[in-house]
């Protein structure tokens, strides 16, 4: 099971949740992993320690994805440590939920900056290296709410829908250089982010899921591995729905 042997992957927002699971899963598949974090240094170091304990290679690199200078430094650090960038997983994301009527400009801006502009900055940042290599895989973690909409998440939904559009454009612009871009749109996955939602919301969501359960981070990680590996070589610009059948 060395689908990513010799490859280097940057996973943004990898200190916990889906990102941490992707980092672990990619390492098991043979990749050298950059565990990016913005605030949670201890958790990121723990993910790195975990990977190393299992015989993998990883480094933790701090960078706020919406800060292009910080991202540039992260890319330089990656090249110095591992010498190539084969896979980028744009996973970093935040929520600032509020009804649109009450949503502050700051809440809107914060979410768009991290969840959408961050994807643009990181993608742009790795493109140079991937173009030189004549190969690369960009995987954007969107969300099913970017497809279906969600009350109380105008900022998050707009950002995630934007990510799906950005994925398609990235795919078109870079296809001639053998760089693919695909998105994953998870539904309700059990993480810190979704634990923060109230029980009522969780119940309502569950009723809309044909498979009758919430997803697990490793189920998203498996799809990300598929998109990062050769198994998906003829696929670009697509969005995989991992939502238990919520949106068809």
């Amino acid at each position: 099971m060395s689908k990513l042997a010799g490859k280097t992957a940057i996973v943004t927002g990898a200190s916990r949740g889906i990102g941490a699971e992707i980092a672990r899963r990619f390492s098991e598949a043979g990749a050298k992993v950059v565990v990016n974090y913005s605030g949670s240094q201890e958790k990121a170091e723990a993910v790195v320690a975990d990977i190393r304990a299992n015989g993998g290679e990883a480094i933790a690199v701090k960078a706020n994805v919406s800060d292009s200078d910080a991202v540039k430094a992260m890319i330089e650090e990656t090249m110095k440590a591992f010498g190539s960038i084969d896979v980028l997983v744009n996973n970093a994301g935040i929520t600032r939920d509020n009804l649109m009527m009450r949503m502050k400009d700051d809440e809107w801006d914060d979410v768009i900056n991290t969840n959408l502009k961050g994807v643009f900055i990181c993608t742009k940042g790795v493109t140079r290296q991937m173009m030189k290599q004549r190969s690369g895989r960009i995987i954007n973690i969107a969300s099913i709410v970017g497809v279906m909409g969600n009350a109380g998440q105008a900022n998050y939904v707009a950002a995630k829908a934007g990510v799906i559009g950005l994925t398609k454009t990235t795919a078109r612009e870079l296809a001639s250089r053998n760089i693919t871009a695909n998105a994953v749109a998870p539904g309700f996955i059990t993480t810190d982010m979704t634990d923060a939602l109230g029980e009522d919301i969780q119940k309502t969501m569950l009723a809309q899921i044909p498979l009758g359960r919430f997803g697990k981070p490793e189920e998203v990680a498996k799809a990300a591995l598929f998109l990062a590996s050769d198994d998906s070589s003829y696929m670009t610009g697509q969005t995989l729905h991992l939502d238990g059948g919520m949106v068809m």
Partner: protein, 78 residues
């Protein structure tokens, strides 16, 4: 020591797969040398590596011919 023009020519020949005699100073990347917009971005990247310099996006946008690139690099090296 190869001249700037010779080094630029080599990069263009390698990248765009054109003949050396097609790379004239007045030749435009997109019009005469068959480059698409992404090729031009790549050319600039390779010129940066070849001459160990940074070429800003604004400056790159001002380069449409081989002569533009040579003049820019010579000026920056001076």
């Amino acid at each position: 020591m190869a001249t700037v023009l010779e080094r630029v020519t080599k990069v263009i020949v390698d990248r765009l797969g054109v003949e050396e005699n097609e790379v004239k100073l007045e030749a435009s990347f997109t019009g005469d040398l068959g480059a698409d917009s992404l090729d031009v971005v790549e050319l600039v990247m390779e010129l940066e590596d070849e001459f160990d310099m940074e070429i800003s996006d604004e400056d790159a946008e001002g380069m449409s011919t081989v002569g533009d690139a040579v003049a820019y690099i010579e000026k920056k090296q001076a």
